[in-house]
């Protein structure tokens, strides 16, 4: 039963990836300029080079053959060269994706740690002052555009108070070899050099972007947890339990929470795609060297191979994250396995 479900999801993943790759492949024809140089990243040059590229990309065959060749290159890690840097797009992605992931994961952790308990608190004090406070705070956080919040925080905490730096992942004078691309892990692997100062500095750099990025998913989780709790608390089995004489604490922890958190788990997974989108804006504002900033720079520079590769990597990642979230959710909630059709 569960295996069947997993297979169905994997089928969906495969299909989505296929569609994505078809789309990516076709945009090199839709972008202005020579499709061949859009694909390869080699600006159109002399005749010999051009015909060499034609051979490599099977440019004179039909679209289907070209597409198959394109898939082959994607799997080999040959994603073309970036117009701007002349390096392989794939190597850029490998360098940059960890930075984005790191930021997103920390933001997600913060939003879970803050959002879920706040939601529970809100429902526990339904319509009393803690609930009202949490509700109004969430409303503000929910409706505040992320770039505006970022700029406000920079103005107050960086420019006015000078507590936090406003750009980058670490003071540039610290030299940490990039092994994993996750800055905190890299510093730990390097054995906390500069007497731990580098680690503290990296944390200081992380603070503002993480808060900014965490704001939206936190508010979503607060509201969602609260709703979900209220719904569960209204059900008859809770009433029964209350009739049995359980106090509110026991009620919430043992009965309501388990049932209420199931949809929240699903929601957490779904937040990941929103996070990646918001991360792009955050990265641009905080000069965070991640994939989002790079992608936006590439768009500005009309770097078509980079746009293609970046889009593909990011969307693949979002699809993957969503499916993993769904699978985890299914493990917790047997009922959901009965869905006949997959959905993303």
């Amino acid at each position: 039963m569960i295996l069947d479900y997993i297979l169905r999801r994997l089928g969906l993943l495969l299909f989505m990836t296929l569609m994505l790759s078809v789309f990516t492949f076709s945009i090199s024809y839709l972008f202005p300029g020579d499709p061949l140089s859009n694909l390869s990243g080699v600006p159109s040059s002399n005749f010999a080079q051009h015909s060499e590229l034609e051979d490599k990309y099977l440019y004179n065959s039909n679209y289907f053959v070209q597409y198959i060749a394109f898939l082959g290159r994607i799997f080999q890690g040959d994603w073309g060269l970036s117009f701007a840097s002349g390096d392989n797009v794939f190597s850029h992605i490998v360098d940059l994706l960890p930075a984005t992931l790191e930021l997103s994961v920390y933001a997600l952790i913060i939003s879970i740690v803050v959002g879920v308990p706040a939601g529970i608190l809100g429902s526990a004090y339904y319509k009393r002052w803690p609930d009202k406070l949490i509700n109004s705070t969430t409303m503000v956080g929910y409706s505040m555009p992320v770039f505006w919040l970022a700029l406000l925080l920079i103005m107050v905490f960086s420019l006015k108070l000078g507590w936090f730096p406003m750009s980058g992942r670490m003071g540039l004078l610290y030299e940490i070899p990039a092994n994993t691309g996750f800055i905190l892990i890299d510093i730990a692997l390097a054995g906390f050099p500069y007497k731990g100062m580098a680690f503290l500095d990296a944390l200081r750099h992380l603070t503002l972007p993480t808060i900014v990025l965490a704001m939206y998913p936190t508010t979503v989780l607060v509201r969602f947890t609260r709703e979900s709790m209220l719904k569960v608390m209204d059900q008859s089995f809770i009433k029964t339990a209350r009739a049995k004489g359980l106090n509110r604490r026991q009620l919430i922890i043992h009965h309501a929470l388990r049932n209420a958190l199931l949809p929240v788990i699903k929601q957490i997974g779904l937040q990941f795609s929103t996070l990646i989108t918001l991360a792009m804006i955050t990265e641009v504002i905080f000069s965070w060297p991640g994939i989002g900033r790079w992608l936006i720079d590439s768009i500005y520079q009309r770097d078509y191979p980079a746009i293609q590769g970046g889009l593909m990597a990011v969307s693949l990642f979002v699809i993957l994250a969503t499916i993993i979230a769904e699978l985890t959710y299914t493990l917790f909630d047997p009922l959901s396995r009965n869905q006949a059709h997959g959905k993303v």
């Binding site: 117009f83 701007a84 840097s85 390096d87 920079i154 960086s158 420019l159 000078g162 730096p165 406003m166 750009s167 980058g168 003071g171 540039l172 004078l173 030299e175 500069y194 007497k195 731990g196 100062m197 503290l200 000069s287 060297p289 790079w294 720079d297 500005y300 520079q301 009309r302």
Partner: protein, 535 residues
Amino acid sequence: MHKLLLTLLAVTLVGCIDNKEEIIEEKNQGLVYCAEANPVSFNPQVTTTGSTIDIIANQLYDRLISIDPVTAEFQSELATDWKISKDGKSITFTLRKGVKFHTTAYFTPTRDFNADDVIFTFSRLFDVYNPYHFVGDANYPYFQSVGIDQLIRKIVRVTDHQVRFELFNPESSFLANMATDFAVVLSEEYAMKLKKNNQENLFDQYPIGTGPYIYKEYRRDHLVRFYRNPLYWKHHVALEQLVYDITPNGTTRIAKMLTKECDVTAHPSSAQLSILAQRDDINVEKETNLNIGYWAFNTERAPFDDLRVRQALAHAIDIDKIMQAVYYGNGTRAQSILPPTSWAFEPQANMPSFDPELAKKLLIEAGLPDGFDMTIWAMPVSRIYNPNARKMAELMQSDLRKIGVNVSIVEYEWNTFIQRIGEHRHDSVLLGWAADTPDPDNFFSPLLSCTATFTGKNPANWCNPQFDLLLTKALDTTDLNMRKKYYDDAQSLIVDELPLLPIAHGLRFQASSADVEGITLGPFGAISLANARKK
């Protein structure tokens, strides 16, 4: 459990405080310079992009001679002495002994600097038999624009520490060219090592020089990292580390100055100087500089090949407005292509005035009564000669609309921009030139000569034999009065022919933290951080 955590936290924090002073000292040995663009190369021979030269030239390399910014006399650098023969056709340099090239992860020198390095370095520029001449498509924009291949006959090794340059003609600007930031000395030994491994293409990306700092790493759009050269021949280098934080956005650079993420920043824009000037912990320096911001037309492209069209466009622009809105009073309106501080400067009487009616009339004469569409390429970075090209382009756009010319503004990332201008893909461009030497030829040959057209340096795509003849005559004489006369003629020819419209000369600005010292701004040439240190 909680108590344990708290105790741990406390211990860590206390531990940190203990070490704090020591660490601050450690960190103080580095300096972060906020630069406005990625370096295009690490060899100054192959580029003239000011943002690149500022980063690499004086930090990684040395020249044979330099020019004193105050007295404008030649000073010895890697050459301790130089003698010019009577006919002016051969110049013998005596080289400094005991100068060592950088030792890095990718190269360890086995010998000191000697004549071979000088011969290799300069023969690369013009000698087709030099194994490196064609590396990077044989593109040496500065030297080609001053015609080095028609200048040096050969370079002779006299002894290990003496080199003789034999010239075809005695040329008055030869020594000045040898003192530019582009005339750095490279390592022949390193070049040969790379050649042996068939890695010639790495030569311009992984630099080896004799300068005060050693290359460590470069990450595109992020940083360039140099370390101190412990064996620097000239003096002790105070900074352990020098990091260039690549921050294209001017406002971000200012903000980073305020948050202390940068110690020094290049080209703070005049609009923001007042913010910085209010702070006690930031110093703003101002210095006149030999430069020119101009508007160049692609004279090979219709309708800009018609002088009347160029004149019409020039008459349509209100430069006074530009001086206020773009330079904020921190610039001088151009009266010629040369700045007033140059000895050859001659104010031009017939600089185009702001006269839209005349502009319309000229367009009608040129057969374009309804105007036309054109592009203005605005450089995306702020440079001395033009602090905000985008804004300037917008002002010009509205001026030109009044005479029926529709302008669209084109912007690219800086290095791409330069490259495409070199391919002459533009209609017109807002660009500029900051001099490398006080020699007036530096404003003419690299910018507007015919050779500059071929090497992609000439943004006006303008080749005028009469103009080139004037330049050659000016170079062939050492009589200062004669030279001045030729340059007068060259200046008026530019204003008559208008391949470009000189707009303004900017002031050079630099903002640095109050605890940084030893960085001096010169009237020409790239920034040197060799003496920079923290108080």
